[in-house]
Symmetry: C2
Subunit: 111 residues, 2 copies
């Protein structure tokens, strides 16, 4: 379970979708670095898990909208908390990380 919601892309999709429904291409544009494949795979998985709904409009050109379900929205809260933490403390983490590098973690490299 944790590895599902802990999944990087799922988190990003859910948080991006927070609020209004979005189309496939919007999602693709809004999530930097995601590939078509991973977006599709992630969306399918999230739909299967009941976190979002997929709605296809039989128009031309085709339009498909993805929207969070209530379940998905409840997850959003928890995810936002995590994202908030990341935003708040990522500096402290980066600093600590540099300290450890300087401490000799890569000592062999110093040759």
């Amino acid at each position: 379970m944790l590895d599902r919601i802990g999944d990087k892309w799922s988190v990003l999709v859910v948080s991006t979708l927070g609020g209004e429904p979005l189309r496939y291409s919007d999602l693709h544009a809004s999530i930097p670095g995601i590939s078509q494949r991973m977006l599709t795979v992630t969306l399918k998985a999230l739909e299967r898990d009941g976190l979002l709904t997929r709605t296809a409009y039989p128009e031309v050109p085709p339009r498909v909208e993805y929207e969070l379900t209530d379940l998905g929205r409840s997850l959003l809260d928890a995810v936002m908390a995590l994202a908030g933490w990341a935003a708040t403390h990522h500096e402290a983490v980066a600093t600590s990380r540099r300290d450890h590098e300087a401490s000799g973690v890569g000592r062999a490299k110093a040759r």
Copy 2:
């Protein structure tokens, strides 16, 4: 950043460590399914990021204790929210997943 704190094992280690310090073997026993390697790797990463401290006691047999830092404890809140969500809704997710299976997602399998 998200893929770091969203990491499955990190989440589990942090939540397990919530509260009292634990020894390596305690952690290994408390986290079902984690391998030695991943435990070590995860602990190192978390230490590097300043989320926990590693304390080795020069005894025999050796004893090493891991403890959350203040930073780690602040993360704990967000992590617990996520874990709580997972515990609360994993049933709904499992149900939805089964629905989709029954819907013909694996239609070829039904032969």
